[in-house]
């Protein structure tokens, strides 16, 4: 009935560090045309995802993490254009650049190599078709299976993701499932064809905390079973701490820090990361004021010259206003885009910037 899951400190099951990452994004840049002009929603984003590993894209709203995901899967809004960068996917067959694929190739890869799970399962599923039809669809399209065989596979898939009595639910419609079940259906559709990379865009934000635990456990199991790379997009630090192996922190369209979760959260090398960690009410006593990052994210129409974080940074100096720091190595395989990475600590001067 209820499972007690032993929880080790290293959820990753990377056997070895593979030589080649299965997804290698380099310099991705997306511009958006808006009322006030053209703005850069994503600037020079680079990261890598490896098999059996979960990479988290962590950032607050407006930082560009969702737009990065939609750019990779080719679902950008018409007002947004990809203006630079490559995203090499080392699939089973060959290496392709996701950003410059033609439509036919993209259709071939969708589901077989690259899959995405969205936040709102109700709008991501077609309300007019039964769940069985929708789950069978990937098999019919990509593997050319007959309707009966595809339905068989759909049942197996539903059982795999933990939907009780799958045979009897084949003919149900999405709205007849609860939120957690719908999310499992979405995940089922995403992993149906054993993709190499699974992008999960805030998959549990709309779910209750107990259901979230179940879904994340499911994702972990599937990651192991299918040897996928999982890119987890979220704003929830605690979720990243528990579920991700590596993290890339985004701010105003830029990646400001990367590294393993354990290292980044224990010893952040970017003031924004430190600010986020301090804002979490984890050990604050009742009545204590929470530290918070003063101010608000910059208007993307007018990102200042120099560091994007300068307006809210307690370490900001003259050099920060003139030169934008590049994402540079700061020890091990960690990177940070800061001129003063070694000065980042919980006791930075001006720690509480909202008086």
């Amino acid at each position: 009935m209820t499972a007690f899951v032993g929880h080790d400190a290293h959820p990753a099951d990377v056997d070895t560090h593979n030589a080649d990452p299965v997804l290698d994004v380099d310099g991705l840049t997306v511009e958006v045309r808006t009322i006030g002009g053209t703005l850069r929603a994503v600037t020079g984003v680079s990261f890598q995802a490896r098999r059996g590993e979960t990479l988290a894209l962590l950032g607050e709203s407006g930082c560009g993490k969702s737009m990065t995901a939609t750019a990779l899967v080719g679902l950008l809004d018409p007002v947004a254009d990809i203006v630079g960068g490559t995203a090499l996917l080392a699939g089973r067959q060959d290496r392709v650049d996701l950003l410059s694929m033609d439509r036919r190739k993209r259709r071939e890869m969708a589901g077989t190599e690259l899959a995405i799970v969205f936040q709102d399962a109700l709008t991501a599923l077609n309300p007019l078709y039964t769940v069985g039809t929708q789950l069978a669809e990937p098999f019919r399209i990509h593997q050319g299976l007959s309707a009966r065989k595809a339905k068989r596979k759909a049942v197996d898939l539903m059982a795999r993701v933990g939907i009780p009595q799958p045979e009897s639910r084949l003919n149900s419609y999405p709205h007849q499932f609860s939120g957690g079940m719908r999310q499992r259906l979405l995940i089922a559709m995403a992993v149906a064809l054993n993709p190499s990379v699974l992008i999960a865009d805030e998959p549990t934000t709309a779910l209750d905390v107990t259901v979230q635990a179940q879904i994340m456990a499911l994702l972990r199991d599937l990651r192991t079973e299918y040897r996928m790379a999982v890119v987890l997009i979220t704003h929830d630090l605690a979720l990243v701490a528990e579920e991700a192996d590596r993290v890339a922190i985004m701010y105003a369209g830029h990646i400001v820090e990367t590294g393993t979760v354990a290292e980044v959260f224990a010893h952040p090398k970017h003031p924004y990361t430190q600010g986020l960690l301090s804002s979490v009410p984890v050990n604050a006593r009742r009545g204590d004021a929470l530290t918070s990052i003063g101010g608000s994210p910059p208007d993307l129409h007018s990102i200042p010259q120099g560091c994007v974080y300068q307006a809210r940074c307690p370490l900001a100096a003259e050099v920060c206003r003139t030169t934008r720091p590049a994402l540079a190595p700061v020890g091990g395989d960690r990177k940070a885009a800061c001129h003063f990475p070694e000065e980042v600590s919980p006791r930075m001067r001006g720690e509480r910037t909202d008086v």
Binding site: V5, D208, L276, P281, L290, S292
Partner: protein, 334 residues
């Protein structure tokens, strides 16, 4: 005058649902809680537990089928007309969604001043109104220039501040905060939580703080009540409930919530299945379908309140409370 500002006793509320035939959706099933002046009561629970219905009932947007609510000794549901209107000033609400709770066609000043249009006599004239609006904007940390702007020009956190200012306009004693920071970014959450804290110190307001985020509740609440399918299954001082949960559901909730230092967690409890439908809830204890400690008695009898031996005001509705297992049971007559 009783010590409690707000007393809720055995409130029940059901809704008729079109597709459920004769069955009703039982949203609240015997809610009992107290709130003191200047205190914050945290209300925790997952979707379908009835916390929204409870909030709406406390705001008198819904009328309970049974049970009583006493506010400073007065039953607000017995009031009518002008008395009821005057009473509404004492309880106000801050809503979850900063984008939906403000009418985007009204300026910030109009939004904040709107309560006064229904309660004549608070503001004397236009200047008085403008001055009070400015005072409220300052109180919540927005500049005077914000008065003429429209909601689209504000960020989520700022809009929530406007919502808080509006809730303060009538100078209430109790503010029901329905997930006030859930829709906000982490850095902004901290700002708004600090603001709520400061306001409580300055104005001696009581809060009923509804949230699904346990770390936030732990930070803001003096006492916490955990809801499941229309019942308060655990109630007690915050630290005690968090550290030594008595009800299995509370323990599962604490275990499921991810925390920054979660890697050190010993074991995570993964509940199987989902929350049963409130239209046809399980008999006896409603949590028994997912509880690993369930026995036969849990299906036949609704559990009575089991009291924590160390804290008399910490109770759990359970036949096998975690705190007492292995040491005999101690129940309080219902």
């Amino acid at each position: 005058m009783s010590e409690n500002l707000l007393e809720v006793r055995d409130v029940r509320k059901s809704f008729r649902v079109p597709h459920a035939g004769k069955n009703k959706l039982c949203a609240l099933d015997g809610i009992t809680l107290d709130l003191k002046r200047g205190e914050t009561l945290g209300l925790v629970g997952e979707s379908g537990c009835g916390k929204s219905t409870l909030a709406r009932t406390l705001m008198m947007l819904e009328r309970p089928d049974e049970g009583t609510v006493r506010f400073d000794g007065v039953d607000p549901f017995s009031l009518k007309g002008a008395d009821l209107l005057k009473f509404r000033r004492r309880v106000q609400m801050v809503f979850q969604d900063p984008y939906a709770s403000l009418n985007s066609r009204m300026s910030a000043a109009e939004i904040i001043a709107e309560p006064w249009r229904s309660h004549k006599g608070i503001v004397q004239n236009r200047q008085d109104r403008d001055m009070r609006v400015r005072g409220l904007l300052d109180l919540v940390g927005l500049g005077a220039k914000a008065a003429g702007k429209y909601p689209q020009e504000f960020s989520g956190g700022q809009r929530q501040r406007i919502g808080i200012a509006r809730a303060l306009a009538l100078n209430p004693d109790v503010i029901v905060c329905d997930e006030p920071v859930s829709a906000l970014d982490l850095s902004v959450q901290a700002q708004v939580l600090n603001l709520l804290n400061d306001l409580q110190e300055q104005l001696q307001i009581s809060y009923i703080f509804i949230s699904h985020d346990l770390s936030v509740v732990r930070h803001v609440a003096d006492r916490v009540a955990v809801m499941y399918l229309g019942r308060i299954i655990e109630n007690g001082p915050t630290e005690r409930v968090f550290e030594r949960s008595s009800h299995p559901y509370t323990a599962a909730l604490m275990s499921a919530a991810p925390t920054l230092d979660g890697a050190q967690r010993a074991q995570r409890i993964l509940l199987k299945g989902e929350v049963p439908s409130p239209i046809d809830p399980p008999s006896g204890c409603r949590f028994r379908t997912r509880c690993w400690k369930a026995t036969d008695v849990c299906a036949t009898t609704t559990p009575a309140a089991a009291v924590d031996p160390e804290f008399a005001d910490h109770t759990a509705l359970c036949h096998h409370p975690l705190l007492l297992e292995g040491s005999g049971r101690e129940t309080v007559p219902a």
